[in-house]
């Protein structure tokens, strides 16, 4: 079992989550009040969904060039794959949160306004709790997706053990070197982690209030 690769994948997933979630909440919330440019911004943010990972990886590779991030080179480094992971995960982080904000009845916001709440209070006390399911859903999707990300990571980071060699790249390496049992074990582990994460999200956060009511009565 390649524990180093597993820990690196978890590190990447956690960092991605920590950085992208606040950004995702901010973007999703801001998109609600965006006027005529909204559809263009939404299209740009959804691009990683349809773009082949190799294409995105290629542009990032060219874009990073010899640049560094806080003194750390971006190409073939953890900082590089973290930035790549953040970009790839934009739609997974933003879209569920955006849908959650959109599903809040506008009258609820107006009721908060006429109750004398400031915009920040409305966000903190009303919108954020009501969008909570969307945010957890975004977190689970981002986490699971980062664990399994392959193409962009390979293009930008290569396969440097302890630096850029994540679980999915380790699986690929093991298959290449005919270590099918090692690849199988890692694949099973990735499958289990993803399944648990999604089940947790559905089970704990995914219940509809109406269903809850029916079960309680």
């Amino acid at each position: 079992m390649d524990i180093e690769a597993l820990l690196l994948s978890l590190k990447l997933a956690i960092w991605t989550l920590v950085l992208i979630l606040p950004f995702g909440v901010w973007v999703a919330h801001s998109l609600q009040n965006m006027g005529k440019y909204r559809s263009w911004i939404e299209a740009a943010l959804a691009l990683p969904l349809v773009l082949p990972p190799t294409v995105l990886g290629y542009y990032l590779l060219v874009g990073f060039g010899g640049k560094s991030f806080l003194g750390i080179p971006l190409v073939f480094s953890f900082a590089g794959i973290l930035i790549a992971s953040l970009i790839v995960n934009l739609p997974f982080a933003i879209q569920p949160i955006q849908r959650a904000f959109e599903s809040i009845n506008p009258e609820i916001r107006e009721a908060a306004q006429v109750s004398g709440l400031s915009n920040w209070q409305i966000f903190r006390l009303i919108e954020l709790p009501l969008a909570w399911r969307g945010i957890t859903s975004a977190a689970v999707l981002t986490f699971a997706h980062t664990l399994g990300e392959f193409g962009v990571i390979l293009m930008v980071g290569g396969a440097i053990p302890g630096e850029t060699k994540t679980v999915s790249i380790a699986i690929y390496d093991k298959v290449q070197s005919f270590d099918t049992s090692g690849a199988g074990a890692l694949s099973l582990l990735l499958l289990a982690i993803s399944l648990v994460a999604i089940a947790l999200s559905y089970g704990i956060f995914g219940r509809q209030p109406s269903l809850q009511k029916r079960w309680d009565s």
Binding site: E107, I108, E110, A111, Q113, V114, S115, G116, L117, P209
Partner: protein, 372 residues
């Protein structure tokens, strides 16, 4: 009436045209009545600051909430949070993730009170609404009437200077509605603030309001106490909207009204406001009508078309002027018996000219109103 508290003038052409101005005094319950889509709710939202008209003036208790004119654009536009108003939404708009108590606590967030004091205040409000025992329930665990009471407690939590009620009784069953009417009547006495009620139900407005503003296609047509509105509608459209059934047309010349489509002439009051030979609409209240079994000098032959008895009251539909017009007359069941009325029977109707109210066919600001 107390001193003037709320002064509203709104003028906008889009998204939906609104042209209205009225006042509401402290302690007054003022109803905005009109058909669906007439702009009643927009007016209420504008007062609360949820909608900004192109021009207008909204003042509450010496504080200008909104002021905009064509010359200078928007001069003042306070945010909804800065306007001291309680707003009751048609669909309650309770915060679904908070308990009844927490919902009522929300407007107290910026009150400067400690959390425990906020809870106490909110609890007192829920008790006053008669639902103190439901304070820990979530909105989805409450009935429509209970949700409405939580929403009312929330609207009152900030001790607002005005209370705005948007169709508050439309989604509630009849028995609950009766008890909410009583709650509102009690509140009104205690609060002594202007209360604006938006409703499409004229009977409700008649029952609850001190004054009614009739609004149609965004235009405020008339503001008057209910009894004045029913007896002296300003124009034909108001008469139609307030459901006056005995509404006819005629030609008015210096105190004489000729019933259009017949030769009957009535002597009516002339206030000198209407030029001679003007087409007018006219209405006659129930007490201006009487029915006789024998003709006299100024009676009109009428044929009983239909008699509907509702308890002790009978509504009689009469055909007059060779079936050109239909008149509704209300009488007691005893009166119907005394006159021996039945469908198809000929009878004699007397219309008291002094009770006739004449009015322009078109609204007062319509340039076509005097053309016949």
């Amino acid at each position: 009436m107390g001193f003037l508290m709320l002064n509203v003038k709104i003028s906008q052409t889009s998204p939906n045209p609104i042209q209205i101005s009225f006042e509401c005094n402290s302690g007054e319950l003022h109803a905005l009545v009109g058909p669906s889509g007439s702009g009643k709710t927009t007016v209420l939202r504008t007062i609360a600051g949820l909608n900004h008209p192109q021009t207008g003036f909204i003042q509450c208790d010496d504080e200008v909430w909104f002021e905009a004119n064509e010359m200078r654009g928007t001069i003042t536009a306070l945010a909804p949070a800065q306007r001291s108003c309680g707003f009751l939404f048609q669909q309650y708009a309770l915060f679904p993730h908070l308990t009844a108590l927490e919902n009522v606590c929300i407007p107290l967030q910026n009150s400067g009170l400690m959390q425990s004091d906020r809870n106490t205040t909110a609890m007192q409000l829920l008790d006053r609404m008669g639902i103190g025992d439901l304070s820990k329930r979530m909105p989805h665990q409450l009935s429509g009437g209970q949700q409405q009471r939580v929403a009312l407690a929330r609207a009152l939590a900030r001790s607002p200077k005005i209370l705005l009620l948007d169709e508050p009784f439309s989604a509630i069953d009849a028995p609950t509605r009766q008890s909410l009417y009583k709650t509102l009547a009690d509140l009104r006495k205690d609060l002594n603030i202007p209360i604006l009620l938006v409703t499409h139900d004229l009977r409700e407005a008649d029952l609850l309001a001190d004054r009614i503003t009739v609004i149609d296609q965004g235009v405020g047509l008339q503001t008057a106490p209910p009894q004045v509105l029913f007896q002296r509608p300003r124009n034909s459209r108001v008469a139609e909207l307030v459901g006056i059934s005995n509404r006819f047309e005629g030609i008015f010349t210096e105190g004489s009204l000729t019933w259009l489509g017949s030769s009957h002439v009535f002597q009516v009051a002339d206030k000198g406001k209407i030029p001679p030979n003007t087409s007018v609409a006219w209405v006659v209240p129930a007490d201006g009508l009487s029915l006789h079994d024998q003709p006299t000098s100024n009676t009109i032959e009428a044929l009983v078309e239909k008699i509907s008895t509702l308890g002790q009251v009978a509504v009689i539909q009469l055909q007059v002027n060779n079936e050109a017009h239909s008149i509704t007359w209300e009488a007691s069941a005893a009166e119907v018996k005394r006159l021996g009325l039945e469908s198809g029977k000929k009878s004699y109707l007397q219309i008291d000219g002094s009770k006739i109210h004449i009015m322009p066919l078109r609204p007062i600001n319509d340039p076509r109103r005097f053309t016949s």
